[in-house]
Amino acid sequence: MNTAPSSASATRAFLRDLRSRKVALVSFTVLLILVAASIAVIPLADLTAKQDIGMRLQPPAWLPGDGTTWLGTDQLGRDLGLRLMAGIRTSLTVGVLAVVLGFVLGTAAGVCAGFYRGWPDRILGVTADVQLSFPSLLVAMLLVRVLGGGVTTLVLIFGFTSWMLYMRMARSLTLTICQASYMDAARAIGAGGVRQVFSHVLPNILPSMVGIGLLEIARLVLAESSMSFLGLGLSPPAVSLGIVLADGRGYLEGAWWISTFAGAVLLLLVLSVTLSGRWLQERSDPLGR
């Protein structure tokens, strides 16, 4: 693996692998459908937020009762289906942006540590290990309490508390790459540190780290929903799956569909992201780590 494969044959290899793994195919498809649905309701923002007390707490149309909507309505008469799809968008936005932030921070730190070794490696390593031992949920909730909730705050909090994982992985991958002969060759023809990193190290480590990114998105989507449920994450008028879960908590005996469907959609989302991420991870790491 001395040079990156051309993009055409890489695409063909990707599609072939994809076809031969039915589970991964299904999970990617489900994920795409969910994302498409969440984007499709953007122009329906008014309809999603429309409250109608006369329509409150209606069961789904396919259950006994006088419901007319697909998944029922919540305590303010809002269409649950529309709210859930908007919720997917918010939860995924937080997850994706936070992972991008953490990924950039962590990969930069990891490549630095692996490439330069010595003091940068030791300091970054200890910092990462110490921060990994923090009770991160508590710290995150504290930060939300102090700084206020909201998408931006959550993205920053999650990003700055999750970089360690990417750092460790980038570091170990960089260490491996640095021993390859093409790195000696690059140095021999006079490539400086920056050029070595950007032309050789990064292109070779990034594909292996995409899978981890997806798995982290799944973890952060779950974290956001727990925090929002407890009132220490996102709050109304924002819509997230955690918020809808909280909405339905008081109605478990009556309008059980609110929390049940919110969590089911959450499960579907997280599961499809996890399986897709796991497949990508296995595919990129020959040892199946």
């Binding site: 200890v126 290990d129 110490v130 921060q131 031992s133 923090f134 009770p135 991160s136 949920l137 508590l138 710290v139 909730m141 504290l142 930060l143 309490r145 102090v146 700084l147 799944a218 779950l222 929903s225 727990s226 449920f229 407890l230 009132g231 220490l232 955690g242 879960l245 339905g248 908590r249 478990l252 005996e253 059980w256 929390s259 049940t260 919110a262 969590g263 089911a264 959450l266 499960l267 997280v270 599961l271 996890t274 399986l275 796991r278």
Partner: protein, 308 residues
């Protein structure tokens, strides 16, 4: 050996100091702690008086060092919300969370190892597919949703258990423990399966089979012994994660008076001194569990290396 112990102990200290420093920084540096602690409508006068009384006007480092000095003597100030000594309040609540986490980890260990071994022994068959699928599904479930669904099905509809509340009888204990344990079951299953498959490729396993030892005996006598270190250490790490993470949600939903629900309450009410105490205590507990896991790993690894 002594060097290793010294390094680990100083790391332990760094974790505690680091966590408390971050919390202090957030509470006192990123915001006005007096505003957080006092109700929203407080006048500027009340806020200033509070600041004077609590020594919040002193420089940041002075406050931090005072906090550390007091903490080392066991003084964590009093709770603004509950009154009374913070450290006593927190220590009172630890047993509840500890019991919850221990039982959950116990269940996760037993069920997870069993399922993981089963999947590994039947790797590649439908049994493996089903178990792995269950494993993924369990690790993807939201703790919130799991708790709510358990309540909905088993308490509200079937009336087998109570919907919430703390006590030591089955009607109150089963659901919270299940809610806390099911996700770790999925994770332990995955870890066990991977560990078992990993060691089954080792030479001693292949040799045992070649000598004609039945598969199950190989599995229990050789494989499990060698797969045990990563599984056991994972269980201990996971217990730390439960303590500081999932327990918060489960305790809140089932109204159990543990450390997690205390944290939510303290955060909601802006009880800054209780929050500081909680972070110290939880950090110590988690760091201790991690230390224990590391030492366990070291001991188990040495024994394996010696026995070969």
């Amino acid at each position: 050996m002594a060097k290793y112990v010294l390094a680990r102990v100083s790391f332990f200290g760094m974790v505690i100091l680091g966590a408390t420093f971050v919390v202090f920084l957030v509470l006192h540096g990123l915001a006005d702690p007096a505003r957080i602690a006092l109700p929203i409508g407080s006048t500027d006068e009340e806020v200033d008086t509070f600041r004077d009384e609590m020594g919040l006007n002193d420089p940041f480092l002075v406050q931090y060092l005072r906090f550390i000095a007091n903490a080392l003597q066991g003084d964590f100030n009093n709770s603004l919300w509950l009154g009374g000594s913070n450290i006593d309040i927190v220590l009172d609540r630890i047993p509840v969370t500890l019991v919850l986490a221990l039982v959950a980890i116990g269940i996760a260990g037993l069920v997870g190892v069993f399922l993981g071994m089963l999947a590994a022994l039947r790797a590649g068959t439908w049994v493996d597919d089903v178990i792995s699928g269950i494993g993924y599904a369990l690790t993807s479930i939201s703790d919130v949703w799991l708790s709510l669904v358990l309540i909905l099905v088993f308490a509200v509809n079937l009336h087998w258990f109570a919907t919430s509340g703390f006590g030591l009888d089955p009607r109150l204990v089963v659901l919270p423990v299940l809610a806390l344990a099911l996700r770790p079951v999925g994770q332990v299953t995955q870890v066990t399966r991977a560990a078992m498959l990993g060691v089954s490729k080792q030479e001693y396993a292949i040799l045992a089979r070649a000598k004609g030892m039945p598969r199950l005996r190989v599995a229990f006598v050789h494989l499990l012994k060698n797969a045990a270190p990563p599984i056991l250490t994972f269980l201990v790490y996971e217990m730390g994660r439960l303590f500081a993470g999932t327990a918060v949600v489960v305790e809140s939903i089932f109204a159990w008076p543990g450390v997690g629900s205390l944290a939510v309450g303290a955060l909601e009410r802006g009880d800054i001194f209780l929050i500081q105490t909680l972070v110290v205590v939880v950090a110590v507990i988690v760091a201790t569990l991690n230390l224990f896991a590391d030492v366990l790993h070291m001991i188990l690894d040495r024994r394996i290396v010696r026995q070969g």
